[in-house]
Each structure stands twice: as C-alpha cells, then as structure tokens.
Point group: C2
Amino acid sequence: MSESIQNSVQEITPSEWELMRIVWTKGKIYSRELIDLLQEKRSWSDSTIKTLLRRLVKKGLLTTEKKERRFLYTATISETAAMNGSAEQLFDHLCAMKKGATLLNLVEHVTLTQDDIAQLQAALSRKAKTAPKQVDCDCLPNDEQC
Amino acid sequence: MSESIQNSVQEITPSEWELMRIVWTKGKIYSRELIDLLQEKRSWSDSTIKTLLRRLVKKGLLTTEKKERRFLYTATISETAAMNGSAEQLFDHLCAMKKGATLLNLVEHVTLTQDDIAQLQAALSRKAKTAPKQVDCDCLPNDEQC
DNA sequence: TGCTAGTGTGTACAACTGTAAACGGAGGGC
DNA sequence: GCCCTCCGTTTACAGTTGTACACACTAGCA
C-alpha cells in the first residue's frame, strides 16, 4: 500500500489542479507569478485565483512562508502522491470486475514513453505470476455478478 | 441557463456512482428494489436515494419507463463509457509527463485477472513500436519542464 | 367509500465550488 | 507627508452535492 499519513488525499477540484500543477512545477511561487502564469491559460480574474489559493491553504494542500510583504506558496504533498491518490479514489468507484478494462482503455489513450512502457511491462509480468483467473463484481451486496 | 446536449460524459458524483452501479448490474430496476439493495451498503434514507434518482434522470444519465404506477429506471450510457470517460477526465488534469507513473501505480494496486494482464501486455507491445523517447511536461504555458 | 401503503414530487438546508467585486494596510515615488 | 499600487482579506452569490422531511397521489383493502 502507499505511504500517506492521511488515509485520503484531500479532494482536489479541477480548478485547484490547475493551480497545483503550477506550484509543483515551480516549487515555490508568489501569488503574482502564479496569477500571471495561470492567466495565460485561463481567463480568470486575479480575485478568483486568490480565492482558490486561500482555499488550498485552508485545505492544507499549500503552505505559505512570509517573505517581506508577500507570501511564497509551496505544496504540502507531492504531485505523485496527489496523482496516485486521485487515481485510486476514482478506481474505488468502479466495479472490481471492470477495472482492468478501464486501465486498458487508459493505456491505449495516454501517451507513454518507451520507459513508461518498459516499467509497465515489468510490473505486469511480475503480477502475472500471482494474478487470479477472475475477479468478482462487487456492485451488489449479494454475490450477483454484473 | 439553457442546457446543451452533453458533449462529454456528465460528471458523476461518488454517491451517484453507487446508484449507477446497481442500475448497470440490474439493467432495469424499480426504485424500491434499488433502495433496498443500496441500503444494504449505505445507511441512506429512502428519501435521499429518491432524490439522487431524480437528479440522475435530470442529468440524463437515467431514463424512466412507466410501468403501471411506478417507474423502471435504466441507464442511458454504458458502464464502460462512464468508466472510461471518468478515467480520461481525471487523466486530463495530470501533467503529461507523469501520466505513465500514475498508470504504473494503478497497475500495481489494482487487482487484475490473467486475462486483463494479457490484454494490457498486448496493448503495450503494440504501443512500444511507436512510443516516443520522452513526453514533455504541459503544466506551464511556456515550455518550462517540471 | 374512506383509509392505508407505496411511489413520486416539493422543499430545505448546509457545505463545497466557480467566479469575482470591493476593501484595507504597507511600501515606494513625488 | 500623501497618494498610488500591490497584495492579502472580506464578502457575495449562484450552482452542485449530500442528506432528508413532509406531502400528494393512486390503487387496493377494510
């Protein structure tokens, strides 16, 4: 299982992802720079972005560090942890029987590097050794299969 | 505001997933049966579930068919379409460079059947033929990499 | 024929999300 | 010293989500 002290990564809303990605990429960033960067992609007002920043701080996903009159924002969780957390959360909603198919669809649609593919292949061969013949549907309380 | 024909899969909230999974599994179902099944997993009141049903109909994810004085509910999209849609939506938020790593994490954590693994391996070998050496980060408007 | 039980509709209400205007304090330029 | 600009804080407001009470209708039962 993963590390994670808090069992569930906070929900990150779509708009919040946009800010977080910039913060992760820059490491530490002032609101001004973040606003400027973001406004090259989204036509959000300064105010909107400031609100989102504050909410992220309140949620504990960002921390601030006072530099002179301004704040430097930093993420409190790694991008990888956030991504894995969100992906696992999504997969929790899916029928156990059909997770494989969904993964297959993703593999087909996502752009992967040679290296990604090699790692995925390695992980799959490893898993193949102990993989079950079939997985049961867990959509209903009884054992009815879908 | 007027509603337009949905171009992508509607957002499905976590609670809604629970109802939808039952509907998908049963094909067609009366609210009573759905409520009984759901209440074996969640302690939601009848009322709550009826509200969720109504909202799903309004969103266009379920349709009704009047049988005597009750409604039979059916899903308007396939489970596969919904799962793929949601998964792709999630991946849209991730840094292009790191989608592979997230997929790897999922492959490691999800229970897969022998058959799932075989299909994934096949898809990967196929992709390997044309996969790029590397993928660029698309988190910032300029070409700065993360 | 009036009552009951089952099913759908209206309404409610707090928390969260998307979006943003307006306000307040401090440092810099004139 | 005064005003402007920058940055953070307050407030706002509509839409969505989670959760649920209360009511209305209809068909069958007493």
